[in-house]
Amino acid sequence: MSTFYFIAFLSIFFSILVISAKNPVHSILYLILTFFTFTIHYILMNAQFLAVVNFIVYMGAILVLFLYTLMLINLNKESEPVKPFMVKLAAVFGAGILAVALVSSLKVLTHTSDPVVLKNPNLGLVKNLGKVLFNEFLLPFEVSSVLLLSAMVGAVLLATKEKEPKPTI
């Protein structure tokens, strides 16, 4: 239990550093640490498969791409976009409402179950997870894969150059 609270503290600590760091590359590095603490959370819940997949996909692939993009963009003080005050205010207000909604929805949950203690401790192992995904939740699983595929096709479509029309003489 105390391990959980320690790791949870680290998660929150690093995520605060993500938003407070001045240099965008530093915030990505803090984000990597945050995701690493999530991996430890999964291991604490005996979800080895999820832990490793989180490790590979988020830490090993997506954040590498984030870092890659940030390294390519020229990040000087002059090119930093300045948002108007009203936009900032609206963002803070929207995020506050989201936080209230999340906290209230979690408040309902705490009556029924303890989020730290699992009912079925072997739920996260590969075999059990695969059986649940491909029996009970087969349709949502496939639909989400189609969604990802369509997003990918869309990205490729946006990235391809339009063919220039042939010059008519």
């Binding site: 590095l29 490793v52 830490m59 590498v64 890659y68 192992l125």
Partner: protein
């Protein structure tokens, strides 16, 4: 776990660690000797008989050289880069089964540090983490060539990880488990996975070359275009760590290839040898067999390096995305169909 067990595990970790360091050290020597052989030269022959003390001399030189941190570099991250590179190189060996259980004085000792049930994915995660050492170091150097090297490393790793993962999926269809210990056990005698997955092995081999940044895929440190690539600004032992990490990676990926495809510690006639030698020496012989196979793969890495010239960057991307990934997907489909209808 009792105190003795913990002590044995600790000893095993230390031994594996030492073995990988010594192998990496002598890989540098072997690389120079192999290169010399391929180019009809003598190679290093001054330090000790046949030059076998050369790695020690190189190491000593690395330690004693002046350490330079560029003024415009990001100081902390500049040090984190090589540390991370060597760390990720070393932790991969934890899940590799080096042999069967050895019985010494009535106590059975498994020659695998830990047999977690997602062993392959652990290796995969460590590999994908390895690129951060290069990226952070390259970015923190604050040098255009280093940055180019870092960016190349990132895109190369991401591209080849995909086909590597897909080639592993086909292997998993055959073995039905993610644990490296079980995969090693299943290949008893001559039932090596390379017989069932030849295409998968080839894909994995090419990707392993790309993931360890070895020629013909060593674009991140391409000295003809980028001075020294991501380690342009590095000197002394920090440069040494980068170079060392590459050799440890080579050793670990050779061991992984042997475990997954080339029968791990298994060899034809191993049952007979087991009866002949008993529970103590037969597994150690298996370890020797595994070690020899790994060394052969390291030689193969060097053989390729001194035979095939470096790719151009667009050729590298074409190979990764247009040839390897479709081939890997076709391999999965064929494997799935065969398993469904013939088993």
């Amino acid at each position: 776990m009792e105190g003795l067990d913990i002590l044995i595990k600790f000893g095993l970790i230390v031994v594996i660690f030492l073995i990988s360091l010594v192998v990496a050290m002598y890989s540098t020597y072997a690389e120079r000797k192999v290169a010399a052989f391929f180019q009809d030269r003598v190679g290093p022959n001054r330090a000790g008989p046949w030059g076998i003390l050369q790695p020690l001399a190189d190491g000593g030189k690395m330690f004693l050289k002046e350490e330079i941190i560029p003024t415009n570099a990001t100081g902390f991250l500049f040090i984190v880069g090589p540390s991370l590179a060597i760390l990720t190189a070393c932790i991969g060996s934890a899940v590799i089964p080096w042999g069967q259980t050895v019985v010494i004085a009535g106590k059975s000792i498994p020659l695998q540090v830990t047999d977690i049930n997602v062993g392959i994915l652990y290796i995969f995660g460590v590999v994908s983490l390895g690129v951060y050492g290069i990226m952070i170091g390259g970015w923190a150097s604050n040098n255009k060539y280093s940055l180019m090297g870092a960016i190349r490393a990132a895109s190369q790793n991401i591209s080849y990880e995909i086909s590597m993962g897909l080639s592993i999926i086909a292997l998993l269809l055959v073995t039905g488990t993610l644990s490296l210990g079980e995969i090693a056990q299943q290949q008893h005698g001559w039932h090596w996975n390379v017989i069932y997955q030849p295409v998968g092995f080839l894909l994995f081999l090419v990707c392993a070359f790309a993931e360890t940044n070895r020629t013909p895929f060593d674009l991140p440190e391409c000295e003809t275009e980028l001075v020294g690539g991501y380690h342009t600004e590095y000197s002394s032992m920090k440069l040494g760590f980068y170079l060392f990490a590459e050799y440890i990676n080579m050793f670990i990926s050779s061991a992984v290839m042997v475990t997954l495809y080339w029968g791990s510690y298994n060899y034809p006639g191993m049952d007979y040898m087991h009866e002949l030698l008993g529970d103590t020496w037969a597994p150690l012989l298996g370890f020797g067999v595994m070690f020899m196979k790994t060394l052969l793969f390291i030689f193969f890495f060097m053989w390729i390096r001194w035979t095939i010239p470096r790719f151009r960057y667009d050729q590298l991307m074409d190979l990764g995305w247009k040839i390897l990934i479709p081939l890997a997907i076709a391999n999965i489909v064929v494997t799935g169909v065969v398993i469904t209808f013939f088993k």
